[in-house]
Amino acid sequence: MKAVILGGTSGMGRAIAQRLAERGDHVFLLGIGDDDLAKSASDLVARSPKTQPVGYALCDLEKPETFAPALDAADALLGGFDTVIVTAALFATQEALEADLELTRRLVTVNYAHTVVFCEHARKRLLTRGGGSLTVFSSVAGDRGRKPVGLYGSGKAGLSHYLESLDHKFHDQGLHVLTVKPGFVKTGMTAGLKPPPFAGEPDGVAKDVVRAIDARKPVLYTPGIWALVMLVIRWLPRFVMRKIGF
């Protein structure tokens, strides 16, 4: 596998990058912060059984102009990537977003509009060489309009919708699209929040994601229990959703 990972320096993206490097896959990191990227690259080199260099390039989801050059750099070093993984996104609590509309604008733009644009860049590159795999982190928050994650979840809902359409449209041309819907996972993104029951750890998520990429699954809930939780939530009638705080 020749994988480009946007967000591979921290949280679940880091865990996936480590897992791929440890089994000998070629990895190229995209992210913000030269120092952070360099540290992650050394980590992946040290973890890899082969002594292959791990490249990286600056790519900021807030700056769409960085997308094409970053993907070009990855292509050049990897000799044509076949897998793209996007774990980067912004997160803020519903309270913080309601109190700060500029933050809301930023978050929704990055998590939906800019992520879609990045995926379009990646999707086109993959299709020109006959397909490949595109894995994008959406969220269980996008499955239903829920009180505690309404604004964050709306961007993720749009993203899930877009990814589903990619799968429908390009599956037959060899493009595998995996929509990952993590439940609550204990990472730097959720630091300070009280973990609910069924909270996951990044390493467990990474294991599930890599397995789903290998098996070419279209949708992954992780930790697995969230598939059941969301099945129930999706079927709850509106008058119940208005009452409960979930």
């Binding site: 921290s10 992650s40 050394s42 040290a46 204990k186 990472t187 730097g188 630091a191 300070g192 750890e201």
Partner: protein, 455 residues
């Protein structure tokens, strides 16, 4: 889920405020921040904790509003030199990861504790020791450099020669001198990924001290399991395990198996582990070793981390929680003192199958580092209404012998007892006064033992 705070583990007793617990499952109000950018997060934090495997209260907050950062996601390897074995990594890298990545490449940590679920930062803070203490000393003695965030917000690189006072106060300093961000140490070459173990059935405590002594020069790694529920002529009977890395021609060609993930899924009832079940287990475990002496090649997992094979084994003690009493009795106090300690221990009948004996080598340079030349005994005990009296009484005996206890395991020692057993405490307090005069860094343990403020 393995390291989930206690809120998930004992739902029926769910308190109104979130709580955080360590391995002994005695929760304190507070919560942890899981961060992957240690350098940023540490500037506002009161305490760093790794995987929460210390038994007592050293990784727990002084008060509910204190910020405790969990370092386990800060796990990047920053450099590794295959020629020298020198490894530098972020403090949250676990020994589990190091073993998985480097045993197949022919490297192993110079010192390992009895669990691989520890971080490098935790290994420094506890200055862990292992079965090879009589040869290699503690982990801190192998550390070449630490990058730290001090209480005043500054970043420093400390080594045994640069800022030595800070370095040796941090080694074994229970995380109270500053946040350890990066650790540099050298892995050792191993001839094969397998261990050659010789185990021997030992009839009593006096024999045990003798065989520990005679094995020490022959084997780089030794440890003993003791049946601490049997008094009288069987007092201190058990099994001595000695080992070394197997040479290439002695070892199988294959890598040792990766252990499966057995797990204790629920809390056992409080009384599941009682004197009777523990006695039955101990007798069975002792006589399972029916041959006097057995020599075999086993995996390092089995040799170093027998308990890691069952995740969340601390649930066996039930929701009441448990503690470990670990002390070292100086060689100068002699074998009678160890025997007397065992007599007292068995008299209390603290129901636990886990009791470990080990001879320690000379004291290291860490200002509060636990081991000193003598005999270390560690025993798990369920928390009971009696526990404070048991710990007090054992502590009084240990003080009289000139010994000390291991802070990493402790949740019940009184400050006056700790002071009495720790002549090095003034030097440690002087280092704290120099590097953290406001005592920003603090833990539930430092409140209990060092009189730090809890608000």
């Amino acid at each position: 889920m393995r390291y989930a705070p206690s809120v998930f583990m004992s739902a029926p007793q769910l308190p109104p405020v979130p709580t955080l617990a360590a391995w002994g499952r005695l929760p304190k109000p507070g919560s942890e921040w899981v961060v992957d950018d240690l350098e940023r997060a540490s500037s506002m934090a009161n305490l760093s904790r790794g995987l929460g495997r210390s038994y007592g209260d050293s990784s727990l907050p002084a008060c509910a509003s204190d910020k405790v950062i969990a370092t386990r996601r800060a796990n990047r390897i920053l450099s590794f030199d295959a020629a020298t074995g020198v490894l530098r990594a972020e403090a949250g890298l676990s020994l589990e990861d190091i073993n998985r990545l480097f045993i197949p490449r022919g490297f192993f940590t110079p010192v390992t504790p009895g669990t691989k679920f520890v971080t490098l930062g935790g290994m420094v803070a506890s200055d862990v020791h292992g079965k090879n203490h009589h040869v290699e000393g503690c982990f801190g003695g192998h550390v070449r450099a630490l990058k730290m965030r001090l209480a005043d917000g500054s970043l420093v690189e400390t080594t045994p020669t640069a800022e030595p006072e800070l370095f040796w106060a941090t080694v074994g300093g229970m995380g109270l001198l500053g946040h350890v961000l990066e650790v540099e140490f050298a892995l050792k070459r191993i001839p094969s990924p397998w261990i050659l173990q010789e185990s021997e059935r030992v009839a009593g405590i006096d024999d045990f001290l003798t065989v520990l002594n005679t094995s020490a020069p022959l084997w780089p790694m030794t440890v003993g399991w003791i049946d601490c529920l049997n008094a009288g002529k069987n007092l201190g009977r058990g099994i001595l395990m000695a080992g070394r890395w197997a040479e290439k021609h002695e070892a199988p060609d294959a890598l040792p198996p990766v252990p499966g993930a057995l797990s204790v899924p629920v809390d056992f009832p409080n009384l599941a582990l009682n004197k009777l079940t523990a006695s039955v287990f101990n007798t069975a475990y002792y006589w399972k070793h029916w041959q006097q002496r057995v020599r075999k090649v086993i995996s390092p997992e089995t040799f170093f981390y027998p308990l890691d094979a069952v995740h969340q084994w601390n649930r066996v003690y039930g929701p009441r929680g448990f503690t470990q009493y670990q002390c070292v009795i100086p060689r100068a106090a002699g074998a009678p003192a160890v025997r007397e300690f065992m007599v007292r221990l068995t008299k209390f009948g603290a129901a636990s199958p886990l009791c470990v004996i080990k001879d320690c080598g000379p004291e290291g340079k860490g200002l509060l580092s636990f081991p000193l030349e003598g005999t270390s005994i560690a025993v798990d005990m369920a928390v009971s209404p009696d526990i404070q009296r048991v710990v007090d009484s054992l502590n009084e005996f240990v003080i009289a012998t000139g010994g000390r206890i291991y802070l990493t395991k402790d949740a019940f020692t009184r400050p006056c007892h700790f002071r009495a057993m720790e002549p090095r405490l003034p030097a440690f307090e002087a280092a704290r006064a120099k590097y953290d005069p406001q005592r920003v860094l603090r833990s539930a343990q430092s409140v209990r033992l060092f009189g730090d403020r809890a608000s």
